[in-house]
């Protein structure tokens, strides 16, 4: 068989069951897209072909892998792993961990004698050279990681869910960057649920429960809009549950001023806006995590920062800081009763995992565990920060059903406009420090 990547009878297990089972395969395509639901084995596949399993992550591997001219039996050996790492670059899902230094300049100086100006110019990031990595947006961090890969002159670049944290314009930008990389004759493997952004892919591998369910040219229609078709119910929007008057928040580098709005009982409120417009800051202020000036009234009572904490629940972008227990069921039951917990867990398709450690699930599933915990808890207002980031299409549908059935006031911060159109009865746009309301039907990509 020919091709730069060859797999023979690859099997991986992390315990009793096989997580990934592949027959003989050979690939010669430059741009490979790996799709499939959360937990279907996409990340496991990427980790196996690069040798992360079994060298860094634990796992039993059988079968042989050949990547470029590096051949190994029963998973890549340590030597082969190092050889592969010299010719490839893995852009992690949490791209922060790809970067080690404090500033962008240090990042390049760590690996090279000089800053590779040409590569920076190609990716259009010369202007952020002196900024701190902590303060960069996700897209910028991704570009810095990509610049590192390009200046190492690798043959293969692997992306693990690159679109999960990007807003709509950044997604388009990312596509342009990918084209640039492909022009050099490099190979790319992308694992992603949102197939519609990768029409240029040469080959799609769809995984389902650890097996290949589709292999061929990419099916780019993910049919999110059709699957989400539910008309939002008419809400009784007379009783305000939360009123915000002239809210002002200052977090050092960033400021929000004169924000006023109200949330009615049973509202499903979409909050949208470009990256860096302050959506997360506003949400954190509402849930009592930031100091604020102004007045927040909850059910007619004026609340201060300390009282807000715990009254209004907030789902962080990073699910890991809200997971504490050693099994999914215990996790959800920290804040709710068993029958209520089970109801939301089965609604979100997590019933089969209830005795599993939530930290071992995939990122999308971890987000759903936190969501189940919040929806089944006693709080009446829930703020969800990017609940659909890194979720596959079916999960987004499950999430929307669960939110609709909860009967609580929910604020959703998202980049997924299809979701907003389908389930929100009101939409707020935060742009350039101003907050204004639009009707859900008029939401379009022009807002960003």
């Amino acid at each position: 068989m020919k091709g730069w990547l060859e797999i023979k009878d690859l099997k991986i297990n992390f315990g009793k069951e096989y997580s990934l089972q592949l027959e003989d395969l050979a690939f010669d395509e430059d741009f490979i897209l790996i799709s499939g639901r959360c937990g279907a084995g996409k990340t496991t596949f990427l980790h196996a072909i690069t040798g992360i399993i079994p060298n860094v992550r634990y796992g039993d591997v059988s079968g042989s892998i050949r990547i470029f001219n590096i051949f190994s039996k029963n998973g890549l050996s340590e030597h082969a792993f190092k050889e592969v790492s010299k010719r490839s670059f893995f852009v992690l899902q949490e791209v922060d961990h790809n970067l080690f230094a404090v500033t962008v300049e240090d990042e390049f100086l760590l690996d090279f004698e000089d800053v590779p100006q040409e590569v920076l110019k190609r990716l259009n990031i010369e202007n952020i050279l002196n900024s701190e990595i902590q303060n960069l947006s996700y897209g910028e961090k991704q570009k810095v990681a990509l610049a590192l890969a390009l200046s190492h002159n690798v043959d293969l670049i692997i992306f693990d869910e690159p679109l999960a944290h990007l807003d709509v314009p950044s997604r388009a930008e990312f596509k342009e960057v990918l084209k640039e990389v492909l022009n050099d004759g490099r190979k790319i493997i992308v694992s992603e649920h949102r197939k519609k952004y990768f029409k240029e892919a040469n080959l799609e591998i769809e995984l389902k429960d650890g097996r290949i369910s589709y292999l061929g040219s990419p099916k780019t229609n993910d049919a999110l809009e059709e699957k989400l078709k539910v008309t939002p119910e008419e809400k009784n929007t007379e009783k305000p549950i939360l009123e915000v008057h002239n809210l002002a928040v200052n977090v050092g580098s960033f400021e929000l001023k004169d924000i006023s709005f109200e949330i009615f009982e049973g509202d499903i409120l979409g909050l949208i806006g470009p990256n860096g417009s302050g959506k997360t800051t506003l949400a954190k202020a509402l849930s009592g995590l930031l100091k604020f000036q102004g007045k927040i009234t909850f059910k007619g009572k004026t609340l201060y920062q300390k009282d807000l904490l715990g009254k209004i629940s907030y789902m962080h972008q990073n699910p890991d800081i809200q997971l504490f227990e050693s099994s999914v069921l215990k996790e959800v039951m920290i804040s709710s009763k068993p029958d209520n917990a089970m109801r939301y867990l089965s609604m979100l398709g997590l019933k089969k995992y209830i005795y599993k450690d939530p930290h071992l699930l995939s990122r999308g599933e971890r987000l759903k565990v936190v969501l189940a915990a919040l929806l089944s808890s006693g709080s009446e207002i829930i703020i969800l920060d990017e609940p659909t980031s890194g979720q596959d299409v079916d999960s987004i549908v499950e999430i929307s059903r669960a939110i609709m059935n909860a009967g609580k006031s929910v604020v959703i911060i998202t980049h997924e406009l299809e979701l907003i159109k389908a389930i929100c009865n009101r939409v707020l746009v935060l742009k350039n420090g101003e907050l204004y309301e639009v009707s859900p039907q008029n939401v379009s990509e022009r807002i960003f």
Partner: protein, 219 residues
């Protein structure tokens, strides 16, 4: 690397800083002049990026108070039979059982003074380190470090990046728990959950960094 190269004009700033840190650390370890230890507090704090170290500074205040109390009540000079000024007795040596076991417990002036000196020394030494970290760019000494060893450079760079992040982990876990819609939770249960989360997150982060480091050719 020759010594001359080390004191090259390019690195004079860094060399000066390191010299200052070393001299002042040694001085504050050995001196018992309270003025010398306390005086640079203002300067050191003004050098710090307080926001990123606020949790650590709170911990330092607790450490100081604990040192003061423990030294005040359990001053070694008291047990060695030195002449100490007793403010009040907690347990007199004549008390049956407890007095015999402990040999008496009392708050002493000398103990408080000793605790004050030790506590301020701890704070000063930590502040010197933090001030050095806040005021030094990694790029200043990256070239030197890389000449010694790439691995060393990597690990020191990593400390600068992740120290503030790990400091904020506890705060994040607390906020994460509070915003789960839980209004009241027992202290012991809450602490247990927070510690679990922090430890698991650290382990996961270590795994990710190992993967990333391999692809940056740091073995």
């Amino acid at each position: 690397m020759s010594l001359r190269e080390y004191f090259d004009m390019k690195y004079w700033r860094l060399s000066f800083k390191i010299l200052l840190v070393v001299i002042y650390s040694i001085l504050s370890i050995f001196t018992y002049k309270e003025f010398l230890i306390v005086a640079p507090f203002g300067i050191l704090i003004s050098l710090l990026n307080i926001m990123s170290f606020r949790v650590l500074i709170r911990v330092l205040v607790y450490v100081f108070i604990f040192t003061l109390i423990s030294q005040g009540f359990f001053y070694y000079g008291f047990y060695l039979g030195q002449n100490v000024h007793i403010i009040f007795w907690v347990i007199r040596p004549e008390v049956p059982i407890l007095g015999v076991i402990t040999g008496g417990v009392a708050l002493t002036v000398e103990g408080l003074y000793h605790g004050f000196i030790v506590g301020t020394k701890i704070i000063t030494l930590t502040l010197i380190g933090l001030a050095f970290m806040s005021k030094t760019k990694v790029s200043e000494f990256l070239p030197i470090l890389k000449k010694i060893s790439h691995k060393l450079a990597f690990s020191i760079v990593l400390v600068f990046r992740y120290f503030p992040i790990i400091m904020s982990d506890f705060q994040n876990a607390y906020e994460g728990l509070k915003t789960r819609g839980i209004e009241r939770i027992g202290i012991i249960k809450g602490l247990k959950l927070i510690f679990k989360a922090v430890i698991i997150n650290m382990a996961k982060r270590a795994e990710s960094i190992t993967i990333a480091a391999t692809f940056r050719r740091i073995y």
